[in-house]
C-alpha cells in the first residue's frame, strides 16, 4: 500500500466518521423534547465534523512524522543485520551502496552497479515492508482511537460547534503563518549558503572585485575570480538604465494619454491590450529578443559604424525588458494621477491653462511620489527578471557602458552557476546563493521604499 492510497483510505474513512457523527446527532435532534431542537447545542453536521477531524487529524499528523523518520529506522534495521558488517568503513562508499540498494528495493532502479548492493536488496525489501505495514497499522489505530473517542463524547448538550470552530480558527492562523515561514525559509537558506560561500571567498572580493571569472577550486586570500562588480553594473545598466529609458516615457505617456485624452471607448480597448504586454511570459520575450530584436540592433550598430557589436548585446535585452515593464509603470502612474483631487485640476483649467500645461505643471508634480514609487517597483522587477537576460544578454562579465557590447547580469550568472552539477560543497553553487542574497536584499529595499513612498503620498491627499 503506497502513501497515497493510505491517504485516500484515511480521508474516505473520515467521511464515514462524518456520516456516523452526523447520524448520531440527528438522533439527538429527533428525540429532543421541548422546542424544535430541544437542548441540542450544535447542528448535526458539526458533530459529524468533530468526529471526522478527531479521527483524521492525528492519523495525518502521524503519517507526516512517520514519512520523515521511517527511512532512518529502515537503514538502522538493515545495518543491524549480519551482512551489513561486510560494508566498507568509508562513509562515502557506504552511503553509495546503501542508497543504491534502497533504490533497487523500491523499484526505482533495476540493475546494481556495486556488487555489495545486491546482497542488501532483500534486507531492504524486508525492512521497508516491515516498517511500511507498521506505519499503516499505527495510522489506522490512531484513526480509530481518535474517532471512537470523539464518538463517545457526542451528547445532546455537547458543544461540537465551538470545538470545530476552534480548529477552523487554528487552520486560518496556520495558513497565514505560511507566508512568514516562506520568507524566513528564503532568508535562512540564502544566508546559510552565502555564509558558507563567504567562508571560502572573502566578502571583500565579492563586493568590490572587478574580475568575474569564477574558479571551481578556491584558495583563501588569492583572487578567485568572484568579483561581482561587473555583474552589479550589468544588472543596473540593463535593468535600471536601458529598460527604464524605454519604460518610463512610454508607460507614463500611455497613462497620461489613456486617462486624460482618450475617449472612454479607446480606453476600454487599449487598457486590456497594454495589460496583455504584462501577461506575456518572460520566456517569450526572451526568445523574441534573442531571435528578432538582437540581430536588428546589431545590424543597426554596424550601420552606425560600431564594429564590435555583439549579437547578445545589452541593448536588445534592455529594450525588450523595458517593453515588458510598460504596463507596470503605466498602471502605477494611472492610479496616482487618478488620486490627485479633481479640485486641483479644475482650478488649473479654470485659470486658462491648457490640458497639457495642467498635466505638466499641476497633475504630474502632485502625482510624482506615486509615479516614483511605481518606477522603484519597476526597477525592482527589472533587476530580478531572469529569462529575458538569460536568453538575450551574454554570459561574459564585462565592465562597459557600450550598449552594443555583451554584458551579463546577476540573474544570468545565477542560472549559469547552477547549470550542470549542483554540488553544495562547490563554491560555484554557493556563489549563486550569495548573488541571490544580494538580489533579495536589493529588491526588498526597493519594494519597501516604493511602498513607503506610495503610502505616504496617499495619506497626503486623504
Amino acid at each position: 500500500m503506497t502513501g497515497t492510497a493510505l491517504l485516500f483510505l484515511v480521508l474516505g474513512l473520515g467521511l464515514v466518521g462524518w456520516i456516523f457523527g452526523r447520524a448520531r446527532a440527528s438522533g439527538f435532534v429527533r428525540n429532543a423534547k421541548g422546542g424544535p431542537r430541544g437542548t441540542v447545542n450544535s447542528l448535526p453536521y458539526y458533530h459529524g465534523w468533530f468526529v471526522a477531524i478527531s479521527a483524521v487529524a492525528p492519523a495525518l499528523l502521524f503519517m507526516l512524522i512517520w514519512q520523515s523518520i521511517s527511512p532512518a529506522l529502515v537503514t538502522n534495521m538493515v545495518l543491524s543485520a549480519p551482512v551489513a558488517a561486510e560494508l566498507p568503513q568509508d562513509t562515502f562508499a557506504r552511503a553509495a551502496i546503501l542508497s543504491e540498494a534502497r533504490a533497487i528495493a523500491q523499484g526505482f532502479q533495476t540493475t546494481a552497479f556495486q556488487d555489495m548492493s545486491d546482497k542488501l536488496v532483500p534486507l531492504y525489501k524486508g525492512a521497508l515492508s516491515y516498517y511500511k505495514w507498521l506505519g499503516v497499522a499505527a495510522t489506522l489505530l490512531l484513526f480509530f482511537a481518535g474517532g471512537a473517542y470523539a464518538f463517545t463524547r457526542l451528547k445532546p448538550d455537547f458543544r461540537a460547534r465551538s470545538k470545530v470552530e476552534r480548529v477552523i480558527m487554528f487552520g486560518l492562523l496556520v495558513a497565514s503563518l505560511i507566508a512568514i515561514i516562506t520568507t524566513l525559509g528564503i532568508f535562512a537558506s540564502l544566508i546559510f549558503e552565502s555564509w558558507r560561500f563567504f567562508s571560502m571567498v572573502s566578502p571583500f572580493e565579492f563586493l568590490f572585485g572587478t574580475d568575474w571569472n569564477p574558479k571551481s577550486d578556491v584558495t583563501p586570500g588569492a583572487d578567485n575570480g568572484y568579483g561581482a562588480i561587473p555583474l552589479f553594473w550589468g544588472t543596473i545598466f540593463i535593468g535600471a538604465i536601458i529598460a527604464m529609458i524605454v519604460a518610463i516615457p512610454l508607460g507614463l505617456m500611455s497613462a497620461i494619454f489613456l486617462t486624460q485624452y482618450a475617449s472612454s471607448t479607446v480606453r476600454k480597448w487599449m487598457k486590456p491590450i497594454l495589460e496583455i504586454l504584462a501577461g506575456v511570459p518572460t520566456v517569450v520575450y526572451g526568445y523574441f529578443a534573442a531571435l528578432t530584436v538582437a540581430p536588428a540592433v546589431r545590424d543597426f550598430a554596424v550601420m552606425l559604424g560600431v564594429s564590435n557589436a555583439a549579437s547578445d548585446n545589452a541593448l536588445a535585452a534592455g529594450i525588450v525588458m523595458g517593453v515588458m515593464i510598460i504596463p507596470l509603470v503605466s498602471s502605477m502612474s494611472d492610479d496616482s494621477i487618478a488620486a490627485v483631487p479633481n479640485a486641483m485640476r479644475d482650478g488649473s483649467l479654470a485659470m486658462g491653462a491648457t490640458k497639457s500645461e495642467t498635466i505638466k505643471q499641476v497633475l504630474l508634480p502632485a502625482a510624482l511620489p506615486g509615479v516614483v514609487g511605481g518606477i522603484l517597483l519597476a526597477v525592482s522587477r527589472a533587476i530580478g527578471e531572469t529569462m529575458i537576460v538569460v536568453m538575450a544578454a551574454g554570459y561574459t562579465a564585462n565592465l562597459t557602458a557600450n550598449p552594443f557590447d555583451t554584458i551579463t547580469t546577476i540573474t544570468v550568472q545565477i542560472v549559469a552557476l547552477l547549470t550542470g552539477d549542483q554540488d553544495f560543497n562547490s563554491p560555484h553553487t554557493l556563489a549563486a546563493f550569495a548573488l541571490g542574497l544580494t538580489l533579495f536584499v536589493t529588491t526588498f529595499f526597493l519594494n519597501y521604499a516604493a511602498l513607503r513612498v506610495v503610502k505616504k503620498y496617499r495619506e497626503a491627499y486623504e
Binding site: 480558527m169 495558513a175 497565514s176 528564503i186 537558506s189 486590456p272 526568445y287
Partner: protein
C-alpha cells in the same frame, strides 16, 4: 508688492503677440497629445509585432513535409499477412519485420542518389503505427507519406542549406512532396531531431505542476486572506504577516527557485525536476498573489451583510464561511486564475530545481522527472538546429493560447459575477 507697477491697459487678446503665443501653446498641446498617442501606439505595435512574428514562424511548426515512399510489402516482408500483424503476436511479428530496415530499403530503391537521410528519425515508428492501425497494408503495394528529415523540412518550407534545397527540388519534380498536419507535434515528447519533437510531454508536465500549485496555493491563500481580513487583531504578528506577504509578492521568481533547490531538493531530498517540487515552488510564489486578491475581494463585501448574519445568531465563523466567502468568491477566483496564469508562464524557478533536463517521455506520476511548457520553449530556443526555430514559436503559440484563455476566463468571471454594492 508695493514696488510692482500695474499696467493699466488691459491685455490685448486679439493682438499679434498674444495670438502667436496662444497658437504656440495650442501647438504644444497638440504635440503633447500626439506624444501620448505615440506612446500607446508604440506599445501596441510592439505587441502586434511580437505576436505576428510568433504566428508567422510558429504556424509552420504545426505542419510537416511528407515524402511519398512506395512499399512493396509482399516482397519486402516475405509474405506477412494481415492476420500476423494483428492478434496476440503482433508485437513479435512487427519486430521480426525489421521496419527500420524496410524503410531504408524502400527509400534507397526509390530515391537512390538523393542522400541517405531523407526521412525523420521517427519514420520507422510511424510506419509501425500505420501497420497497427491498418493491418491490410501488408498484403499489397502501398504508397505511404512519411515525414521528411528536418533539413528537407526547413528547405521545403522556406530556405535551407544548399544540399537540402537541391534534394527538395529533385523530390518536387517527382511529385513526391506534400505538406501535412504535424500530429507528432501535439502528441510527442522532446527529441534531438526537430522533425520528431512534440509538446505533449511538456504540456502534461505543466498541467501536473499547475495541479499541485492550485491544490496548495488556493486553500492556503484563501484561508490566509480570510484570517487577515476578518479575524486578525491589529498586532505585531499581523504586521509581520502583512509585510511578508507584500514582500513575497514582489520577490524575483528566481529566488523562489533557489529556495526550492536549497529546501525541497537538498534538505527534504525530494525527487529532482519532478512536477511535485515544481508545483511546491510555484505554489509559494502564487500564494501571495491569491492572498492579496482575496483580501481585496473580502474587503469589498459590505459590513451590512456581516451584521445581518450576526444579528440572526450566526457565529463569527458561520458569518465568514456562509456569507462573506461565497460573496467574495468571484473576486478570489479572478485573482487565482491570474496568479495561475503567471505561474504557468514562469520559467526561472523551474530551471533552478533542475527541470531543464532532456526528458524524452511524458511523466507518469508527480515524482517523475518532468519538464514544463515554458522550460521546453527555453530548451528548444537554445538548439542550434534551424528546424527548432519554428517548433519553439509553435510551442509559444500553444502557451499564449492557454494564457489568453485563462485571462479571458478571469475577465469573464469578473464581469459576470462582480457585484457593485
Amino acid at each position: 508688492m508695493n514696488s510692482a507697477v500695474v499696467d493699466p491697459t488691459p491685455t490685448d487678446w486679439n493682438g499679434q503677440i498674444m495670438q502667436k503665443r496662444i497658437a504656440g501653446r495650442y501647438a504644444a498641446e497638440r504635440r503633447f497629445k500626439a506624444m501620448g498617442f505615440m506612446a500607446v501606439a508604440l506599445s501596441t505595435l510592439f505587441l502586434a509585432f511580437l505576436l505576428f512574428t510568433m504566428l508567422g514562424q510558429g504556424l509552420r511548426g504545426f505542419q510537416r513535409t511528407e515524402i511519398a515512399v512506395e512499399f512493396d510489402f509482399p516482397v519486402l516482408t516475405a509474405g506477412a499477412t494481415a492476420v500476423s500483424v494483428t492478434g496476440p503476436n503482433a508485437d513479435a511479428a512487427l519486430n521480426s519485420m525489421d521496419i527500420p530496415g524496410l524503410v531504408e530499403l524502400a527509400v534507397g530503391q526509390q530515391y537512390a542518389g538523393l542522400g541517405d537521410s531523407l526521412l525523420t528519425s521517427a519514420a520507422a515508428a510511424n510506419v509501425r503505427e500505420m501497420l497497427i492501425d491498418n493491418p491490410e497494408l501488408v498484403t499489397s503495394k502501398q504508397t505511404l507519406w512519411l515525414p521528411a528529415d528536418s533539413r528537407l523540412d526547413v528547405a521545403f518550407k522556406r530556405k535551407g542549406e544548399q544540399a537540402a534545397e537541391k534534394t527538395v527540388a529533385a523530390l518536387s519534380e517527382k511529385d513526391a512532396l506534400r505538406t501535412g498536419f504535424n500530429w507528432t507535434f501535439l502528441t510527442g515528447a522532446d527529441a534531438t531531431d526537430p522533425s520528431a519533437v512534440g509538446i505533449w510531454a511538456a504540456f502534461k508536465g505543466s498541467l501536473m505542476t499547475m495541479a499541485i500549485t492550485l491544490l496548495l496555493a488556493f486553500p492556503i491563500g484563501v484561508l490566509a486572506a480570510l484570517y487577515l481580513e476578518e479575524y486578525a487583531s491589529k498586532n505585531r504578528l499581523t504586521d509581520i504577516i502583512e509585510v511578508s506577504i507584500n514582500n513575497l509578492a514582489a520577490v524575483p521568481s528566481i529566488i523562489f527557485g533557489l529556495l526550492g533547490l536549497a529546501v525541497f531538493l537538498t534538505m527534504f531530498g525530494m525527487p529532482r525536476s519532478s512536477a511535485l517540487v515544481g508545483g511546491l515552488t510555484l505554489a509559494l510564489m502564487t500564494m501571495p498573489v491569491i492572498v492579496i486578491a482575496g483580501r481585496n475581494a473580502v474587503k469589498s463585501v459590505p459590513p451590512s451583510i456581516r451584521e445581518a448574519a450576526l444579528g440572526i445568531g450566526a457565529s463569527p465563523v458561520q458569518v465568514v464561511f456562509h456569507h462573506v466567502l461565497p460573496l467574495a468568491l468571484p473576486g478570489i477566483l479572478t485573482g487565482t486564475i491570474i496568479g495561475m496564469a503567471r505561474a504557468l508562464g514562469e520559467t526561472a524557478p523551474l530551471l533552478m530545481i533542475g527541470m531543464r533536463a532532456f526528458i524524452p517521455a511524458a511523466p507518469e506520476g508527480f515524482t517523475d522527472a518532468a519538464t514544463a511548457l515554458p522550460v521546453q520553449i527555453y530548451l528548444w530556443s537554445d538548439e542550434v538546429n534551424q528546424g527548432f526555430v519554428e517548433k519553439t514559436s509553435a510551442a509559444i503559440i500553444v502557451l499564449l493560447i492557454f494564457l489568453l484563455g485563462m485571462n479571458a476566463l478571469a475577465i469573464y468571471l469578473r464581469n459576470r459575477f462582480e457585484t457593485r454594492w
